[in-house]
């Protein structure tokens, strides 16, 4: 048997190759529709990082994706695939909205904000609670139940936004605008000293909260007993059981943390930008979280850059659609799918080839192939 790959290859080089392949395929599609991939890439990078305003938008989107990426990642450590980030974020928005609607004209923002954080986390966690409990106690697969809960959340929110929460006389199904107590400060002051003028971009203090959340997730997963138990459960449920870890409790707790993180995503668009609760404000961010978590290998240190990359794709993609009308924003959906495919489902496609290069042998032995292909190796 060959020696295992150096660590930097396993956690650095191979993910990079996977993501690069995803982008190359996306480039081929750009060529197929008759545009230059090089020009498209240039316009995209310029649109994402060209000036302070663009960077503000990139980081605004990244904030959202850090939360949803972390949500997918923490569940993944327990061997659970939380595909319901979309619904949990939507319901999390309900928590934010209820706090803001009831307190925005009574309290200043620095008192509403912590309450809204709690509201978002509690509502998101609650929406993950039932699928988690069903998975842990009745064996219903969490993937299927969370998909179902996404649709249920969507129907529920349409019902509420067109019903009790609806602002009288507004043609759109949305709440009234929040007063000053339901709006949080922008973050342009932080980047002013760096010479970046973010203008009217919606980047707000939720970005800092997202970074704190990433750090807290790292502490929970890698520096606490609970995190150790969660990772044990994810790698080997039988070992966890043998060691006396309580599977039901762990499953429910980690799914609620996951749902809470997804729910906190709602703070960014609802309080930080739109200052009202509106239909479909999540806009697929819950699903982007899957790509972000896979790309960041479920580690906060990987998720934050991956989220910024996807933020850049979203912002750059909008600008690209403006300059190159043939390439619509749907390009991002495609790239997202390709990243999920190559970094996730085919994550080990290039491992044997890379291993061969490093081992300097002509071909991997059979035992190696099964080893790299075993599901435990992928995360």
């Amino acid at each position: 048997m060959n020696a295992p790959l150096p660590r930097w290859v396993d956690i650095g080089l191979i993910p990079l190759i996977n993501v690069a392949v995803a982008f190359i395929v996306a480039g081929l599609v750009v060529m197929f529709v008759g545009e230059s991939p090089v020009t498209a890439a240039y316009l995209m990078v310029k649109g994402a990082f060209g000036n302070g305003y663009n960077i503000g938008f990139t980081l605004f989107y990244a904030t959202t994706f850090i939360f949803t990426g972390l949500a997918v990642a923490v569940a993944a450590h327990a061997g659970l695939f939380n595909i319901g980030g979309e619904g949990q974020a939507y319901i999390g928005g309900l928590g934010v909205g209820l706090v803001c609607l009831s307190l925005d004209s009574i309290l200043p923002w620095w008192l509403t904000f912590p309450l809204a954080i709690a509201g978002a986390a509690v509502f998101g966690a609650a929406w993950a609670y039932i699928p988690a409990l069903l998975q842990a106690t009745r064996g219903s697969h969490v993937v299927i139940t969370t998909i179902m809960f996404n649709f249920i959340a969507s129907a529920l929110m349409v019902y509420l936004l067109a019903g009790v929460l609806h602002k009288e006389g507004d043609p759109a199904p949305q709440t009234r605008d929040f007063a000053a107590g339901g709006q949080i400060p922008k973050l342009d002051w932080l980047f002013k000293p760096l010479g970046l003028d973010m203008g009217s971009s919606p980047l707000n203090i939720t970005f800092l909260l997202a970074l704190i959340a990433a750090f807290v997730v790292w502490v929970i997963i890698w520096r606490t007993r609970f995190g150790y138990e969660v990772r044990t459960l994810g790698i080997s449920p039988r070992a966890a059981k043998y060691a006396g870890m309580r599977e039901v409790r762990l499953t429910v707790l980690i799914m609620m943390i996951s749902g809470g993180l997804a729910g906190m995503m709602a703070l960014n668009p609802v309080m930080g930008d739109q200052a009202r609760l509106q239909l479909d404000f999540v806009e697929g961010a819950g699903f982007v979280g899957i790509a972000v978590a896979l790309m960041g290998r479920s580690h906060p240190a990987g998720i934050v850059p991956a989220a910024i990359l996807f933020g850049a794709l979203y912002q750059g993609g909008s600008e690209l659609a403006f300059d190159m009308p043939t390439i619509t924003r749907d390009m991002i959906v495609l790239i997202q799918g390709l990243v999920i495919l190559f970094a996730g489902a085919m994550g080990s496609l290039f491992t044997p080839a890379v291993a061969r290069v490093f081992a300097g042998v002509s071909g991997p032995s059979k035992s190696d192939r099964t080893r790299y292909g075993s599901p435990e190796e992928k995360a």
Partner: protein, 320 residues
């Protein structure tokens, strides 16, 4: 009577794509390959059908293109999850996004109508068929309206869908292919020991799945509507998945589950905002959410137990 027939007619119309996708999922999942990419394959098929029909003028070529595109996606799913032993759920999610992104991009580049395909003429679509003796039987009480309004007057794909129910049952439970397909979904090691290729059996299953998803997509874009519009599958792939669980992975039950969910859809369209006796006005969103709620309740084990194929979702690797 007339309203009931109309409601049932609408039920049939809305359940056909669900049924095709559900049977598609049945082949795949019975062989141990979980497929949450039904939605994407249907969407890709719908776009390919409408685009081909618009460019060539032939509905049949449209149908073939839909099947080809959908099978291609199936093979990607197969390559990732069978050959490469990747995570089947992750792969399915990827297929959904790739299909949605590609259809919108290529649609915009080819037709420049915001991702739509051009409006199709009637000869570029599968039109509604009149079964024999419709005229003669139309005035017969009871049988007449049922035969001429409910059973007759659907397009060819709808009839294919319902014929596929007994065909699928026969294939899965009465042929050697079906036996092997179910065996690799339950106990692949035993099939392997018998000297039969697990991978090949699973590949054939996902190809069957691709064919049916393609037909489902064609039904949407060149059957009941006249062209492709963005995201026209609107979650039907997931409802089909729910129906599959509801049917406990059995073909005939799948048909009933799809008809039930189609019926809910028909009520939602027909009785929007109308006060029903006893219950009053049912919020339309409740009707939309009902298939999902019912599936969760079923999964929780409160109405029977849904036990998936045993090897579902697990990549097969030979003993070391």
């Amino acid at each position: 009577m007339d309203t009931l027939v109309q409601l049932l007619d609408l039920t049939v119309r809305s359940s056909v794509p669900l049924l095709l996708a559900c049977l598609a999922g049945l082949y795949s999942e019975r062989s141990g390959i979980v497929d949450i990419g039904l939605e994407g394959k249907m969407l890709g098929g719908a776009f390919a059908a409408a685009a081909t029909a618009a460019l060539t003028g032939s509905a049949w070529l449209g149908l073939l293109a839909a099947i080809a595109v959908s099978v291609l996606f199936s093979l990607i799913h197969g390559f990732a999850s069978i050959t490469n032993r990747g995570d089947q759920i992750v792969s399915g999610v990827a297929i959904n996004f790739i299909a949605a992104g590609l259809a919108a991009l290529v649609g915009q580049a080819w037709f420049n109508q915001g991702g739509r395909t051009p409006q199709l003429q009637s000869e570029q679509r599968f039109g509604e068929l009149d079964l024999p003796f419709v005229e003669a039987l139309a005035d017969v009480p009871l049988v007449g309206p049922i035969y001429s309004d409910l059973i007759s007057g659907h397009n060819l794909i709808a009839y294919i869908a319902f014929v596929l129910v007994p065909v699928t049952w026969w294939v899965l439970f009465r042929t050697r292919f079906g036996l092997r397909l179910r065996a690799v979904g339950e106990n692949p090691a035993a099939v392997d020991t018998a000297g039969i290729s697990v991978s090949w059996a699973r590949y054939r299953a996902v190809i069957c799945c691709g064919i049916l998803c393609g037909i489902a997509g064609a039904y949407l874009s060149i059957g009941v509507s006249a062209g492709y519009v963005k995201d026209m599958t609107a979650g039907r792939g997931f409802i089909a998945l729910a129906a599959l669980i509801f049917a406990k992975w059995r073909p005939v039950s799948a048909m009933w589950a799809c008809l039930l969910f189609g019926f809910l859809g028909a009520i939602e369209i027909r009785y929007q905002g109308v006060a029903l006796p006893i219950v009053g006005i049912v919020p339309v969103q409740l009707m939309q959410a009902l298939p999902y709620i019912l599936t969760v309740v079923l999964l929780a084990g409160f109405i029977g137990r849904a036990i998936p194929p045993r090897a579902g979702g697990v990549p097969y690797s030979k003993e070391r």
